[in-house]
Symmetry: C2
Subunit: 389 residues, 2 copies
Amino acid sequence: MTQQIQPTPETRLPVQNRLEAYAATATFDRPTLVLDVDRMEEQYHALKRGLGRADIHYAVKANPHRAILERLIALGSHFDAASRGEIELCLSLGARAEHVSFGNTIKRAADIAWAHSAGITVFAADCTQELDKIAANAPGAQVYIRLIVETSNADWPLTRKFGCDRAMALELLDYARELGLTPLGFSFHVGSQTRRAEFWEPTLAEMAEVWADAKAAGHALRLINIGGGFPAFYGEAIEAPTDYAAHVMRLVEEAFPGAERIMAEPGRGLVAEAGVIACEVMLASRKSERDMHRWVYLSIGRFSGLAETEGEAIRYEFVTEKDGGPTGPCILAGPSCDSADVLYEKRPMHLPLALEAGDRVLIRNTGAYTSTYSSVCFNGFPPLDVIAI
Amino acid sequence: MTQQIQPTPETRLPVQNRLEAYAATATFDRPTLVLDVDRMEEQYHALKRGLGRADIHYAVKANPHRAILERLIALGSHFDAASRGEIELCLSLGARAEHVSFGNTIKRAADIAWAHSAGITVFAADCTQELDKIAANAPGAQVYIRLIVETSNADWPLTRKFGCDRAMALELLDYARELGLTPLGFSFHVGSQTRRAEFWEPTLAEMAEVWADAKAAGHALRLINIGGGFPAFYGEAIEAPTDYAAHVMRLVEEAFPGAERIMAEPGRGLVAEAGVIACEVMLASRKSERDMHRWVYLSIGRFSGLAETEGEAIRYEFVTEKDGGPTGPCILAGPSCDSADVLYEKRPMHLPLALEAGDRVLIRNTGAYTSTYSSVCFNGFPPLDVIAI
């Protein structure tokens, strides 16, 4: 399905596969994310081969498109849900409740009660207050305690928003049991886009100490949830998914002896490379004879799907019909009247000098964390469209 | 309509007006922006009294809610539209095409053609390429040239995304005429949330020089569009709207002698104070005994309406039912599993120590730039709901 495809007569874009060929030639009313569900399935199998006995709980928030969820359900994947809305979606498409974990550490009490009644059995928590809510609304539920990670080699280490420290984690295992809950073990997150498996080592070393401490304190730990962090290709080298996942699993098995159950929550690493956004150039201009750079404005911006360009964190790869000609630096911006809607300015992008209004542009590996970030109608622009081929 | 209202027996929130009383006591399924259209009308009259002969072109992007647009149409307001979608909305509600300007300097060629066919006569541009598009798709149209502002006292000066420099502006007037367009004059933007009228002075001095240069070069200038920048109250003192607008207009009349037509584009300054968001506390916790601050998680975050907290730019005012009791610093965050979904961390907020999950929270003066920024379904959360009372 992903063999090299020659550009069709209708496109001069240097497409690499069936997905890009479609995105280069189809007619779109507006910026559109095109998903190749077969490509996603290949990635699922590649990750699964490396992850071995670990259960894949797909992080639904990365892309909740129906075609992706349906395929994953058919493949036997499990799911990590961030909200009642995501749980409802998974269940409505046929996922079994025992395969869906409620992994957000911040849950509305009424949503916990609803999830419990819908058959969800596993919940995340990182503080006494959340355990109180779970005990009151999902009596007897299984819980895992999210740990904060102090060390990270990720491209984007997470903040302290999620997770508690080691001392509190052990107290929470006791507290959960006092509340009549069933504490299973721990979860953590190595950080988004951890590009090499060896980068997991310091985090795993830190988590392994908590695991050992908890066992030494007499806790019967059964579960380790290793979260996400599986990378996608955005131009910087990453390891092949099976090798990467297998390497991580060797480290995980060493770090958490006796873990009966291992959960992994790939999101980006599973779906990013199965998507490409088709958009167009709105305008390419200079505003002053003195300007060093051109400005290139696309029909998509930070508020219509490219939210992860905030702080220029992710640098996507762009494909245009003018590729191959001379290039030059440009500031790349979105189409809205919002001055914050600039994609790359500190590190300008190098794009063809011949780019002009109307040229189609593909943005590679945009299957994760794009469509759902899109605003409902900022500046009167409709949300990013999504289709699956 | 906005007289002081005593808290009703149902709420312990210290509400200040009818809008807040409603938001404090009504039942909501999810975070909801409540709009008081009468309050917006009062603000319209207050600004209009100060703006005198200037035409108000409401910046639709600030809040395109139907009730606001319908009321403004009834009041005779004109509109500044950022997209075909906003133009369609205004026209569908009864706005006259000659009262709607297409103010985005980045327009799709097909949208220019559509707007032209729908009767839109005034377009913005800041480069030759955009003028080419306008001439090709809206032959003979009126245009104004957007100038870049190098000096600003705004709370958030705009980037160089919009506007051209002085030398190019004069060339563009000539170029527009060569293309058969009708150049009317200039526009600029003093920067968002310019809190005091006197802060306009350096920008107006800079723009006045371009105006004088253009006249000296023989251009018959008829229009100056002074853009937005009219402030809303977010806790820091601002001037009363009529005084502020009248002061700005005195400066504008001095700066642009002979301007037949003056456009002003308030958005935030017109609707922000007419809205309040009702949400709730999801969780209030500490993650470590060593933590200096609590974390307070709300049911709304950066991706569900509070996008303007990016970089902690806007510090909203929060009202809770625990107000009046002891307070302490907290990091305030949204409910999603995204570590970037943190509202205030560098400068923690001081909120009541007694806050707990389920407590209702009102966020004041949130009528502008909230609902439309909301993501379609990030993390499975529905978009911010909006109702008008």
